[in-house]
Structure formats: structure tokens, C-alpha cells
């Protein structure tokens, strides 16, 4: 059973690391702007998620259940979720500006796009 948790934690670490790598590479390719900001939030979120999975991995190896490491794991998870929330908020903001297909798009814009 413990080996299964160990494998899951290791898998999570690898996925979080790969995610951070792809995001960081994309971020360097973008010019300054809102998309870069969103990617940055995702990077911080993915990094914190990686830290969380690493903590879980350490807990599994050294059997540190019920110690400070478990609290630390949740702190990382909590902050990762905050950054994912910030990224989601930015995407929502962008959708307001670029939601050309939205019902709420300005009338003039709709007229031009659909004429």
C-alpha cells in the first residue's frame, strides 16, 4: 500500500515538473502582456504543486505522517490553488475583452463581424 502512495507521489512530482517546464518555456516566448501574466500565475501554481508533491514524496519515504510536513504539504497546495485562482480570474478578464462570440459583445463590433 505504501509503495502505491510512493509511486503516486513520484508520478505527481514528474507531472508537476513537466507542467512547470512547458509553462516556463512558453512564458519566455510571449511578449509582455496579459497572456504572459496568466502563464506566470500558472508557473507559480505548478511550482507550488511540485513542492507539494515533493513534500508528499518525502512523507512517504520517511513515514512522516502527522508531522509538520503534512501541514507544509497543505500550505503548498493552498498557495498553488490561489495562483490557479488568479490565473482563472485573468482568463475571465480576457474573455470580457476578447469574447467576440459573446452575447455581450458591443453592438458595433457584432455588426462589423457579422455583416
Amino acid at each position: 500500500m505504501q509503495l502505491e502512495y510512493f509511486t503516486l507521489a513520484l508520478g505527481g512530482m514528474i507531472i508537476a515538473f513537466a507542467s512547470t517546464y512547458f509553462l516556463a518555456t512558453s512564458n519566455t516566448n510571449f511578449t509582455k502582456g496579459q497572456l504572459k501574466k496568466i502563464t506566470s500565475y500558472f508557473i507559480y501554481g505548478a511550482l507550488l504543486f511540485y513542492a507539494m508533491m515533493t513534500t508528499q514524496f518525502i512523507i512517504e519515504i520517511f513515514n512522516l505522517y502527522g508531522t509538520f510536513f503534512e501541514i507544509l504539504k497543505f500550505i503548498f497546495l493552498y498557495f498553488a490553488l490561489i495562483f490557479f485562482l488568479l490565473a482563472s480570474y485573468e482568463i475571465w478578464e480576457i474573455s470580457k475583452a476578447l469574447g467576440f462570440a459573446s452575447k455581450h459583445a458591443p453592438k458595433k463590433l457584432k455588426k462589423i463581424l457579422e455583416s
Partner: protein
Amino acid sequence: MMRISEKDLTRVIKNLKPNRIVLFIIDAKKYHRLHAKILKILIEQRKFAGIYITVNKPYKSLIKYLEENKINTNNIFFIDAISKMVEDKMKLTEHCLFIPSPSHLTDLGITLTEAINVLKNKERKFVIIDSLSTLLVYNDLETVARFMHFIISKLRVFGLVGILISIEKQIDEKAVNLLIEMCDEIIEVK
């Protein structure tokens, strides 16, 4: 590269076919007159509608200037990347989408892609970028070249007319050579 006089400009624009990407290199002294003329023919005579990306003049000044030149702006949607009316976020209003800076090319690219995707009757639509020379002030040549390649490919895929405007002498030979490969025509208006 084709060199034409101001008189030939009307003929060139009247014969402009869909899916053509044309770069107009205009003498700085004639910029205002020729720029207005290009728009007037496209909108009034060819009955085109489209998207105008301004990195040269803020939206308010541009509208005032177009109205002074009796150009109907009802069929143009503006993307203003120069007004700096927004802090760090894009903002959509009834007549214009504001982008914080001309250096935010990724955001500009996404905006155009989204707009082009929902355009209907694409053969009667244009995208004007005014001006390339100003874009080059805010970004390096390599970045602008990549951006232009992306935009031009999009315009081609969707069959839109692309009008790129640049001011003579503000655009160097290296940039012109890159654009020659990307555009269908480079027209220097003398």
C-alpha cells in the same frame, strides 16, 4: 516593389482582390493625406468593413481625424494599442478595444485571431495595421517580423485583405526585405 504616384493609388485599391496583403510605404509628408485616401476608397467605394489596428494615433485623435476627412467609421472596429488608456489589461468598449502597449504583441495576436475567427463574409473584410514603422519603435525587428508572419498567415488562411502601412525612411531595408517575402505587393507611394 512597385512605385506609384498618388493618382494611381485609387486604381490600385479599386483593383485590390480578397486574400491580398499589401504594404504601403508612404512618404511622411504625405502620410495624412494618403492614409485618409486609402481608407476612403476601401470604405466608401469598395464598401469594405474591417478591423483597424492603430499604434500610431490614439483612438480619439484618429476618430476626429477620420471624421474631418469625412470617412465613415461605422464599419470599422478599432484596436488601439497606443492610448495607454488601460493600465495592464485589455479593455473592450463599444467602438474600440484598448491594448495597454504596442509591445504587447502576443495579446494583439490573440485579439486578431479571435476577431478573424468570428468574421463573416471574409472576402469583404480588411485588416489595417497602422503603422509598421511605429511597431518597430516599440519592438525589435525579429519580434515584429514573427508577429507579422503570424498575422499575414492568418489573413491568408481566412482570405482577408491586409493593408499594412509604413512611413518611408522609418522602416529600414532589412525590414522591407523581410516584408517583401511575406506580402503580395509592396507599394511605395511617391
